[in-house]
């Protein structure tokens, strides 16, 4: 909407668009939920063979070494064709973390399987007693000889029960103050003895996440990333990038199209009060696109956005929820239907996106936690 492609970017966009049109399976397009691994991973591996699975990774590690603008072109084209979201924990989290902080051996062992799509990763941050107060996490890792003994529990682990490996924050210095100084960053093979994984069904009807129990699990000491007790810094190093990624305006634009279809089908588009609120939401979608474009410009010119990335996450996720509220309003009494609704204007899935988007203001730090961060670190308000 605001960015203009350079000639190179335009050529790249055309190439991506053509390839996606020819290769993305129809069954994977326009899904409002994430397909299970059996359906999704073949598509992942297809992108991998094309060389496009990791646009943001350096070439030496199997990525494309793409510019930020090329990455955005890619995201836009994937969204445009209705491609499903790929599992992000390997590609967007542990991959970049290992590239920045990992040993040569860790990179050699773990990066190629992520690129190939032969290994799925899970993130082990939250615990039953450590959600918003993440630094209170209690899963213990005790160094005994050349192994850590890990004991405790992780929860809200996205795709935990489909995953082969987990990167986790664990407590290695129980008495350390501040608490953040007693946390380390560890790689765990989820097929190790002593691990139990239970899927958790979500309100959206899927089992996207799970809980993971560790009963004195032996983890080789070489699976420590970075220095002992330096895990907090590593976990936070890439958060800004994650917040920017989840706020791509394409998701909001797609939500807007669903609302328009539903509102025309149900006739509510003729109601001036509905039109007014849809106009307000549409204008905020343009504002999100502007904010995103502004953030990309800044990120291209300096190292990162810093804590300002929190406002993009707040604005983007709350806007998505506002859009899905308009969607169920447009659907009227169809809103509660579990299955997509067939209309004269096309099939519209209403309840699934509405339920799915509840999580957007919770994961990656809730909107309230983001507001705390902005208040302290951007606005410099006192403690």
């Amino acid at each position: 909407m605001f960015r203009h492609d350079s000639p190179d970017e335009a050529a790249f966009r055309a190439e991506v668009r053509t390839w996606l049109a020819a290769n993305l399976p129809a069954a994977l397009r326009g899904r409002t939920n994430r397909p299970p691994p059996a359906e999704l991973m073949p598509w992942y591996r297809m992108l991998s063979r094309k060389g496009w699975i990791a646009p943001h990774w350096p070439k030496q590690h199997g990525g494309m070494g793409a510019t930020l603008n090329q990455q955005i072109v890619m995201t836009e084209e994937l969204a445009q064709v209705g491609a499903p979201q790929l599992p992000a924990q390997g590609l967007n989290h542990i991959g970049p973390i290992l590239i920045e902080f990992g040993t040569a051996a860790q990179k050699a062992r773990h990066l190629p399987p992520i690129i190939e799509g032969s290994v799925i990763w899970a993130q082990g941050y939250s615990e039953p007693g450590a959600g918003s107060d993440l630094a209170s996490l209690a899963t213990r890792a005790t160094l005994e000889g050349d192994h850590f003994i890990v004991h405790g529990q992780k929860i809200w682990t996205t795709w935990g029960h489909h995953s082969d490996w987990m990167f986790a924050l664990v407590r290695t210095a129980p008495q350390a103050q501040p608490r953040q100084a007693g946390i380390s960053f560890l790689l765990l093979d989820l097929h190790s003895p002593g691990i139990t994984i239970r899927p958790i069904k979500t309100i959206a009807g899927d089992d996207e996440f799970s809980e993971v129990f560790f009963d004195n699990v032996m983890v080789p000491a070489e699976n420590l990333v970075g220095k002992l007790n330096d895990g907090w810094r590593i976990a936070n190093a890439l958060l800004g990038h994650e917040r920017l990624g989840t706020s791509n305006p394409q998701f909001a634009l797609m939500a807007l199209e669903r609302i328009k279809t539903m509102a025309r089908a149900s006739g509510v588009m003729a109601d001036p009060t509905f039109q007014d609120r849809l106009a307000a939401a549409s204008i905020n979608v343009i504002a999100l696109a502007a904010l995103f474009s502004h953030a990309v410009e800044l990120t291209n010119r300096q190292h990162g956005l810093g804590p300002d990335s929190s406002i993009i996450k707040i604005f983007g996720s709350e806007l998505l929820q506002a859009l899905d509220e308009l969607l169920i309003e447009a659907a009227g009494s169809h809103a509660a239907a579990e299955q997509p609704i067939a209309t004269d204007f096309g099939v519209v899935d209403v309840s699934t996106p509405f339920l799915q988007v509840r999580r957007a203001t919770i994961y990656g730090g809730s909107s309230e936690i983001q507001r705390n961060i902005v208040a302290r670190r951007v606005l410099n308000l006192p403690n």
């Binding site: 605001f2 006739g267 307000a280 502007a290 800044l298 300002d308 208040a375 951007v378």
Partner: protein, 364 residues
């Protein structure tokens, strides 16, 4: 989030900030309920600095700059509660510069010796911008306008740019303040300035042509006005935010600075989200649109958001100040009142959304 500016743009912003710092709440108070609610010599100073000709092509003596530069100056004007109508004068100059030969009023408008302002609105909700009821009649080779314009910032004006329906549809015309058949009646605004009703009866006028490459001159001027007002609104809300954040850090209750309380912190962040999103939207639109060919849906979106957010922000700033914020003595109320004025002009947020519904085809 900072803007990425060239060194010339940074210098321009610094100059505008200096100009605005010389204004501020105290000066703005001094102009309340005065005959002319700004200082004509300050308008000339803005002219000397080139700002009134900021969009005017260099061939016509202007700076030939873009919407970003216009916004940078007006954002500072908003911050400083500047009373001189720099934005309205600058966009009028841009309109006067469109023809093959510049309008005779262009030079004096650009140097601030004369003030020309747009008079486009006919009703309170701007339902009429594209279809004015003002009539332009061609009689004996001269054009005469008849009709009424409302909510005109006529204070100190020497002439008006008026939309009227002529032989070939809506067009833009210039009418001199002292022309025969031109009558003004003013009402006070909340911030101590004036808005006028302009009644024309067979008033002599001349056509202001549109730029060759551009759309209708009326639409071009309208969209420029929306951007100009939005930039000023952004400055108003940013300064109100700054004053309020300072207060949250200093004011103590329950033995602590009130800015340490989470309820107030989250309200402060909501204010910040409004100012930042308006800022990104305004400057992304400014950077990607030619002043004479602004995408009307984007201009409308910017004014809708800036109007709504400026009221949200300045209202919240009063609330965060508590009782002191409700006094005339405290400056924070001045920002609310300026936001009330600017958000209401050329269509408030709701009026812009009504236009957006059609522009973005949010229809059956």
């Amino acid at each position: 989030m900072e803007l990425h500016l060239s060194s010339e743009q940074t210098l321009l912003r610094e100059a505008a900030a200096k100009f605005a710092a010389a204004a501020g709440p105290k000066v703005a108070r001094g102009f309340r309920r005065r005959d002319i609610s700004f200082a004509p010599e300050k308008l000339r100073q803005a002219g000397d600095l080139g700002w009134l000709g900021i969009l005017v092509p260099s061939s016509a003596g202007g700076l030939s700059l873009g919407l970003t530069e216009l916004a940078l100056v007006l954002e500072q004007a908003g911050r400083g509660l500047v009373c001189e109508p720099i934005g309205l004068a600058a966009i009028s100059a841009a309109a006067l510069a469109q023809g093959h030969t510049p309008h005779p009023m262009l030079e004096r408008t650009m140097n601030g010796a004369a003030l020309v302002v747009p008079a486009l609105q006919e009703d309170a909700h701007c339902n009429d911008l594209a279809e004015p009821r003002m009539r332009a009649a061609d009689a004996d080779g001269s054009i005469r306008l008849t009709g009424t314009k409302s909510f005109v910032c006529a204070d100190g004006a020497d002439g008006f740019l008026i939309s009227a329906y002529g032989r070939d549809g809506p067009a833009l015309f210039y009418v001199d303040r002292h022309a025969q058949g031109c009558e003004l009646s003013a009402t006070q605004t909340v911030d101590g300035r004036k808005l006028s009703t302009l009644r024309l009866k067979d008033a002599p006028a001349d056509v202001v042509p549109s730029r060759q490459s551009s759309r209708n001159a009326v639409e071009a001027l309208t969209d420029l006005a929306l951007i100009a007002l939005s930039a000023e609104l952004l400055g108003v809300m940013e300064k109100a935010q700054e004053i309020t954040l300072d207060y949250l850090r200093i004011r103590k209750q329950f033995g602590k600075p009130i800015g340490s309380f989470q309820a107030l912190q989250h309200k402060a962040v909501d204010i910040y989200i409004r100012t930042q999103t308006t800022r990104s939207l305004l400057y992304q639109v400014a950077a990607n649109n030619d002043p004479y060919r602004i995408d009307p849906a984007l201009a409308v979106a910017v004014k809708a958001k800036a109007s709504e957010d400026a009221l949200f922000v300045t209202e919240a700033c009063i609330q965060l100040h508590g009782a002191i914020g409700f006094t005339d003595e405290h400056d924070i109320g001045l920002y609310l009142k300026r936001a009330m004025l600017l958000s209401s002009l050329f269509g408030n947020a709701a009026a812009q959304r009504r236009r957006y519904v059609n522009l973005a085809d949010l229809t059956v």
